[in-house]
């Protein structure tokens, strides 16, 4: 089998895109992905569809696909390190959704999406335990999902108010990417949360990352608050992007030579409010912002 770097040559250049998840547009004033694509084709290059198999695809995602718009499939419901979680029923439904979306690749936070079985009221998202023992089970899940879908699966560094284990999150994801021979999705806002929680500089751990494997970046707004004096960042996908997220994004752009896609995660905000954010991302990446 060719290596990921060889396989990556076949991955399309998707440009700048937006994310959505089931029912995102029900929030008042939320972004209409198709309107963005119609009015600013350079900004709505593709739609990253957040999929929870139990809910399926909503009308907006289906309409985007019917228009022939490119997509990526962002899973929201699998604990990659639990072999039991990739059960035949779920995998069959994933394959069905992949057939509908025809995504360029699959991606998603490599963390704990639910406790117990995949069942009501059991959703959450915790980052992986940052120890070498986490690498092999996570890599095995990535390989299994790639084989089951026939698509590349890019693990994303998850958000967190705290992180358990001594490793740097980039060190862990580097090891996972090597072990699974896969690409990576670097979420700049999530990385900023990690660096802050550890009191590290925005670019700490950059040297650990095999940047040629980074295929996709996420940029999103976050808001700062304190829990009884403990500063934390809420990954609220708002329009205020933290300065360290920008610094990470710009540092990543300079290093990720194989980059194919950047998602601006702002699905619940009105178009006029998010345009400045899109324009800044586009200009940093040097793409046409019309």
């Amino acid at each position: 089998m060719p290596t990921f770097l060889e396989r990556s040559a076949a991955l399309p250049h998707l440009g700048l895109g937006i994310s959505t998840e089931y029912g995102a547009r029900r929030s008042p004033g939320a972004l209409d992905p198709r309107a963005l694509r119609r009015e600013h084709p350079g900004l709505g290059g593709f739609l990253e569809v957040g999929v929870e198999i139990e809910r399926g695809l909503d009308a907006d995602a289906r309409a985007w696909v019917a228009d022939g718009g490119p997509t990526t499939y962002h899973f929201l419901d699998v604990n990659l390190d639990e072999p039991e979680d990739l059960d035949p029923g779920w995998l069959a439904a994933v394959r069905g959704t992949v057939d509908e979306l025809r995504p360029a690749w699959l991606c998603g936070d490599a963390g704990l999406w639910h406790f117990g079985t995949r069942d009501r009221g059991q959703m959450l998202l915790l980052p992986p335990v940052l120890v070498p023992e986490s690498v092999a089970p996570m890599a095995a899940g990535l390989v299994a999902l790639r084989q089951a879908t026939g698509h590349e699966v890019l693990p994303e560094n998850p958000p967190g108010a705290f992180f358990v284990g001594p490793m740097h999150v980039l060190e862990l994801f580097a090891a996972v990417a090597e072990a699974a021979d896969t690409g990576l999705l670097l979420d700049c806002a999530h990385l900023a949360m990690f660096q802050r929680s550890r009191g590290l500089a925005f670019d700490a751990g950059f040297d650990a990352l095999p940047w040629e494997r980074v295929i996709e970046l996420h940029v999103a707004g976050g808001s700062e608050r304190a829990i009884e004096g403990l500063p934390v960042v809420d990954d609220d996908h708002g329009i205020e992007v933290l300065p360290d997220t920008w610094a990470i994004f710009e540092g990543a752009l300079a290093r990720a030579g194989n980059l194919r896609a950047v998602v601006v995660e702002c699905e619940r905000n009105p178009l006029p409010d998010v345009l400045p954010l899109f324009r800044r991302v586009a200009s940093a990446w040097g793409v046409d912002a019309r």
Partner: protein, 281 residues
């Protein structure tokens, strides 16, 4: 030194080595499971930080969790409410009988923690934890929760069809459940979360009411009373039995010995017992 003594010593040494090995074990999944419990239960988080023995965690696993700032565990103030919401959706009348304050204690129970470690559906673990706490109402809503989820394949020569659950609950349970459910209205979560206290009327606790709960083809759930001998027989067959055992049980429950075979055939024809293809175990 006697040979016995030296064998004892070497056994003790190997036990120490095993204990050391197990204390050095680090399974990320066990750390995550304990972390989830800490997120739901501050008392458990304090136990992890404390010194009392916790068999579910090795020394290394526990050391990682001790480093978590307890304030960070409170980053999502709605976590418990969302989980309680999911339980009330499936157990509205049990939650009314207990009161939401009591429902919340489930998240501090060993049953909840075991359910996470064993990778179970929370609603089913809750049903088991309920036991007799909400009387027959809890049994009834637990049976409904079981029937909403994937059903097991029938086993043995004869089984209770998996789409049925036979229940023996205190007399009046069905009427009480329906009446409280109706009064909870369209948003039991909202109503019960505000109330928090147990419902004014107590769930029935005397006598016996035999009930059959059925999942229909369309997925909806049907509740009804049935004859006590039938419910007892279906419960007896649950999980798989030999036909001879079920016939003997039917006779114990009052069937004429000469007619027991015929009775079982009729129950199979009516879909109240099922005979899985041979070889199912």
């Amino acid at each position: 030194m006697s040979a016995d003594r030296s064998a004892e010593r070497s056994e003790a040494r190997s036990e120490d080595r095993n204990a050391e090995r197990s204390e050095a074990r680090l399974e990320p999944r066990r750390v995550q499971h304990a972390l989830v419990c800490m997120l739901f239960d501050p008392a458990y988080a304090a136990m992890v930080r404390g010194s009392a023995k916790l068999p579910e965690l090795s020394v290394r696993e526990r050391a990682l969790l001790r480093e978590v700032d307890p304030r960070a565990l409170r980053s999502d103030p709605h976590r418990l409410a969302r989980a309680v919401h999911a339980l009330i959706d499936e157990y509205p009348v049990s939650a009314a009988v207990l009161g939401v304050a009591k429902v919340e204690t489930f998240f501090a129970s060993e049953a909840f923690r075991a359910g996470i470690r064993e990778r179970k559906a929370m609603a089913l673990t809750f049903g088991q934890w309920l036991g007799d706490r909400a009387r027959g109402v809890g049994c009834l809503e637990h049976a409904m929760a079981l029937l909403r989820r994937p059903l097991p394949a029938p086993k043995g020569e004869l089984d209770c069809p998996p789409r049925f659950r036979g229940l023996l609950v205190p007399a009046g349970t069905l009427a009480f459940t329906s009446s409280v459910r109706a009064r909870l209205g369209h948003d039991p979560v909202e109503l019960l979360a505000q109330r928090r206290e147990p419902w004014g009327e107590r769930a029935p606790r005397k006598g016996t009411e035999p009930l059959l709960v059925e999942r229909r083809e369309d997925g909806s759930i049907d509740l009804g009373t049935a004859s006590e001998p039938l419910v007892r027989l279906m419960r007896f067959a649950e999980g798989g039995r030999r036909r001879a055992e079920v016939e003997a049980e039917a006779i114990r429950r009052g069937a004429e010995p000469a007619e027991a075979g015929e009775l079982i055939d009729e129950l199979i024809a009516d879909g109240l017992l099922c005979a899985p293809p041979t070889g199912s175990s």
